[in-house]
C-alpha cells in the first residue's frame, strides 16, 4: 500500500499511568502557580509590561527570584526577550496585558517564528466569563497569532497551568525552536488550587504529535561522504540551524577535515569563523561576491536580465546545505541557484525539504548529530582523499577580486550630506562601512552586535567579522525595524560579561527609542551606534535603482531645515539620562568609539553618514548571480 505517512510521529497511549506518586503542591493562587512554573522552567528574566489582565502575575513576580525588566513598550520588551534568547539559546520570555498589550507582542512573535527563535509570549486575558463579549481590552490572542506560532495555549482550567507552562518551554526550545503563546485569563490567576507538577517525561509523553529528536540515517550520511569523494567543487551552505543546534564546533571539524569552503546565511553568521581561511563569508542578495560565485558560478555581468547569462566559471558541483531554508534573499531565482550542483539538504524540519528548491538528497535530522556522526565516519575511514586544489585556487582568485569594498563615489561627493553637514570638510566624510570596520578593530571582534533592518544591517554583516555563534543578532526573516536596541538590551542582560552594541539606522533606532529608559533605569549597559543618514537608506537605494531616485516618503529629517540633524539624538538620549555624542568628522570617530566602549553605562553615538551610499554586492530580488552588482 503506497501510503505516505509522517515518519516522525507515532501514536502513544493517551493517558500514561503515572509510575511514581505525583508532586502535589499546597493550595496556591493561579498567579503564584504560574510564576513558580516559570521558575521551574529555568526562567531568569522576564520582559513584562503590566496591565489590568496581567497585574496579578506582576504581583507574584515581586516575590519571585525572576528578574522582571519593565520595557517602555511591549514591542521593546518582546524584542529584548528575543535578544536574550538569541544570545543564550534559552527561551526568552515576555509578557503583556490583554488587548493592546498583547497585540504589541505580535511583531516579535512573527519575528521569532521566521527566525526560529525560542520565545514564550505570555498575555493576560479577560476573565473567562467575559471572553467573547467584546470586553474592555479583549483580543482573541490565540486567534490573532495562529499563523505565526509554533504552538499556543489559552488556559481554560487552573489545574492546567503547570503542564501548559512546562509544555510551552519544552516546545519553544526543542527541535526547530519557535514562539509559543500562553493566553491566561484573569479569573484563573485569581482562583486557587493545589498544583500538580508534571515531570519532563510526562510532558514529553503527553505530546503525542511532537517528536523533536530526529536523527539522520547512516545510509544517507554515507552517501554524503561518497558525494564529497566524487566532487570537484564542493561548498557548504549553512544557516541558523548550526547555531540553534549548537553544531558550530562539529561544523568546523567537518569543514577542516574535508577541506570544503563554507558560506553561511545571514542567520548563520557566527556559525563558522569568518576569519577562517575556508570562510567565504555570507551569501545572497547583499552577501559576498565570492560566496555567490562559489555556489552558482561566475557570470559575465549583464545589465538587463533579458540578456543571456554567460557563465565564465563553474560554481559548486556539490552543495551541502546544512540547517538552511533556501530563503529567497539567499537564492534569488530558485531555478538558477546552484543550478549545476547536486544538493544535499540536512534539516530537522522536513517541511523545508524541497519547499523552495528541489534537492537531490534530503536528509531529515538534527544537524549537530549528523555532523558529529559524519566526523566519526571520516575519522574512521582515515579522512577524505580529495583535497580540491583547483577549486581552492579558483576561490583564492575570486577572493582577490571580490572582497567587500567602499569608496567615496561621485554620488557621495555631490550629496546633500556634504553640503548640509560637512561644509568645507568634505575630506572628513564618514562612510557607514568605516564605522563598523573601526568598531571591529577596536573590539577585536569580541562584541555581540545587534542591528535594526536596512543598509546598516547588511554592512554590519559585511564589515564586522564574527567568530562565535550567538554574536550577530539580527532580524533576518521578518526584517523588523526597531529590533536592534531592545535586542541589545536583552543580549546584555543575558551576557553582562560581553560588550553588546546595536549598530542601527536612524529609522530603526527611532522605532523603539523609548527603550533608552529601560536601559538606564535597569542599568543595562547596551550601547548603540546610529548610522544616521536622515533617510530610510535601503528604500532609498531601491528608489535609486528602480524608481529613478524619486523619493517616496523616505526622508526622515526636517524638510523645513535639511541642514539640521533631526531629531537631535544627543538631546533625546540625554533626556533619558543616557550619555550620547554626535560624530560628523572622520577625525573624531575613533576617539568617540573608544569613549563609547569605555563607558559602563548605556551609550549612544549618533554618526552622520551620507544617504547616497549603496550596499554592494546587490542581486536584485528574484534575479541571479549574473545580475549581481559588486
Amino acid at each position: 500500500m503506497s501510503q505516505s505517512t509522517a515518519s516522525s510521529k507515532a501514536p502513544a497511549p493517551a493517558a500514561p499511568t503515572p509510575s511514581a506518586p505525583r508532586e502535589v503542591g499546597p493550595l496556591m493562587y493561579g498567579r503564584d502557580i504560574f510564576v513558580e512554573a516559570l521558575e521551574r522552567a529555568g526562567v531568569e528574566v522576564i520582559f513584562a509590561y503590566p496591565g489590568g489582565a496581567s497585574m496579578e502575575i506582576h504581583q507574584s513576580l515581586t516575590k519571585s527570584k525572576i528578574r522582571t525588566v519593565l520595557p517602555r513598550h511591549e514591542q521593546g520588551g518582546s524584542f529584548a526577550a528575543e535578544g536574550y534568547a538569541r544570545a543564550t539559546g534559552k527561551a526568552g520570555v515576555c509578557m503583556g496585558t490583554s488587548g493592546p498589550g498583547a497585540t504589541n507582542l505580535v511583531t516579535a512573535i512573527a519575528d521569532a517564528y521566521m527566525d526560529s527563535c525560542p520565545l514564550v509570549a505570555i498575555t493576560g486575558q479577560v476573565t473567562q466569563a467575559m471572553i467573547g463579549r467584546g470586553a474592555f481590552q479583549e483580543t482573541d490572542m490565540v486567534g490573532v497569532t495562529l499563523p505565526i506560532v509554533k504552538h499556543s495555549y489559552l488556559i481554560t482550567d487552573i489545574r492546567d497551568i503547570p503542564r501548559v507552562v512546562a509544555e510551552a518551554f519544552y516546545i519553544a526550545e526543542s527541535g526547530r525552536p519557535g514562539p509559543v503563546v500562553i493566553d491566561f485569563p484573569k479569573n484563573l490567576q485569581q482562583d486557587r488550587v493545589q498544583p500538580v507538577w508534571p515531570t519532563l517525561d510526562e510532558i514529553k509523553r503527553g505530546l503525542r504529535g511532537y517528536n523533536p529528536d530526529i536523527r539522520a540515517g547512516d545510509l544517507e550520511l554515507n552517501e554524503i561522504i561518497g558525494l564529497i569523494e566524487k566532487a570537484e567543487r564542493p561548498v557548504i551552505y549553512c544557516g541558523g540551524g548550526i547555531i540553534t543546534s549548537g553544531a558550530a564546533a562539529e561544523l568546523r571539524k567537518f569543514a577542516e577535515a574535508a577541506q570544503i569552503p563554507v558560506t553561511t546565511t545571514l542567520m548563520g553568521i557566527g556559525g563558522f569563523p569568518e576569519t577562517h581561511p575556508l570562510s567565504l563569508r555570507w551569501l545572497g542578495m547583499h552577501g559576498s561576491a565570492v560566496a555567490n560565485w562559489a555556489v552558482s558560478g561566475e557570470f559575465e555581468p549583464r545589465k538587463d536580465p533579458k540578456q543571456p547569462a554567460v557563465r565564465l566559471k563553474e560554481g559548486a558541483d556539490v552543495l551541502l546545505a546544512f540547517g538552511v531554508r533556501f530563503d529567497d534573499r539567499v537564492t534569488g531565482a530558485f531555478s538558477e541557484f546552484a543550478k549545476n550542483a547536486t544538493i544535499v539538504h540536512i534539516d530537522l524540519d522536513a517541511s523545508e525539504h524541497n519547499k523552495n528548491k528541489r534537492v537531490q538528497l534530503a536528509v531529515h535530522g538534527d544537524i549537530r548529530d549528523a555532523l558529529t556522526r559524519l566526523n566519526g565516519m571520516i575519522a574512521k575511514r582515515g579522512g577524505i582523499q580529495k583535497t580540491f586544489p583547483a577549486w581552492h585556487q579558483q576561490i583564492a582568485e575570486w577572493k582577490a577580486k571580490g572582497s567587500f569594498h567602499y569608496e567615496v563615489t561621485p554620488e557621495i561627493a555631490n550629496s546633500d550630506h556634504m553640503k548640509d553637514h560637512l561644509k568645507g570638510h568634505e575630506d572628513q566624510v564618514i562612510l557607514p562601512q568605516m564605522v563598523i570596520e573601526m568598531l571591529y578593530e577596536l573590539t577585536g571582534g569580541n562584541a555581540i552586535i545587534t542591528t535594526g533592518v536596512g543598509q546598516h544591517q547588511m554592512w554590519s554583516g559585511q564589515w564586522y567579522k564574527y567568530s562565535e555563534p550567538r554574536t550577530f543578532i539580527t532580524s533576518g526573516g521578518l526584517g523588523s525595524m526597531g529590533y536592534g536596541y531592545p535586542a541589545a538590551i536583552g543580549a546584555k542582560v543575558a551576557r553582562p560579561d560581553k560588550e553588546v552594541i546595536d549598530i542601527d539606522g536612524d529609522g530603526s533606532f527611532l522605532m523603539n527609542v523609548q527603550e533608552l529608559a529601560t536601559a538606564h533605569v535597569e542599568k543595562i549597559a547596551a550601547k548603540a551606534i546610529i548610522l544616521n543618514n536622515q533617510h530610510l537608506g535601503m528604500v532609498v537605494q531601491w528608489e535609486d535603482n528602480f524608481y529613478a531616485g524619486n523619493r517616496g516618503h523616505t526622508y526622515l529629517g526636517n524638510p523645513d531645515n535639511r541642514a539640521q540633524v533631526y531629531p537631535d539624538y544627543v538631546r533625546v538620549c540625554n533626556s533619558f539620562n543616557v550619555p550620547a555624542e554626535q560624530v560628523i568628522f572622520r577625525k573624531d570617530l575613533k576617539a568617540a568609539l573608544q569613549r563609547m566602549l569605555d563607558a559602563k553605562t548605556p551609550y549612544v553615538l549618533n554618526v552622520m553618514t551620507p544617504y547616497s551610499e549603496h550596499v554592494l554586492p546587490f542581486i536584485p530580488a528574484g534575479r541571479t548571480v549574473a545580475d549581481m552588482k559588486w
Binding site: Q3, P11, G209
Partner: protein, 157 residues
Amino acid sequence: MRHTISVLVENKFGVLTRVAGLFSGRGYNIDSLNVAPTHDPSLSRMSIVTRGDDATVEQIVKQLDKLIDVVKVIDYRQGDFIDRELVLLKVGTGRDNRAEVAQMAELFRAKVVDVQPESLTIEITGGEGKIEKFITLMKGFGILDLTRTGQVALPRS
C-alpha cells in the same frame, strides 16, 4: 489533482482552526473537510479533500505534520482507501413525478427519509462517482436543498 488526506489530531481547543488556518494561510484549497472524534475520545480524525500537484500535497502533509496537535497524517493515494460520503438532498416533487424520484432513489440504494406535499428528502451514501451521478440525475427534477458530509476515508489495511 485531488487528494484525500487523513489527519489524526488531539481533540483539543482550537485544533480545527489550526488546520484550517494552515490551508488558508498557505494558499491551499480545501474541497471538503470532515471532522469528528474517533473511538478514542481524546483523538479526532479529519478527512480533507484537497487539490494540488505532488509538490503542493507534499508540503501540505509536512506542514500538517508540524502542528503540535497533529498526531498522524496519511496521504491516501488512489485505490488504497475506502471513502464514503453521506448526502441529504431535498427534491421538489409533485403528484406526477414523486414515484419516479422514489424509484430512482431505490436504484441507487438511497433512502427516502422525509415526504412532504411538494418535496422528498433523500439520504444517499457512497463513493464519489455514485454520489455525483445521483446528484446530476436529481438536478433534472429540481434540487431544493442539499447538504453533504464531505468524504470520510480509512485505509484498507
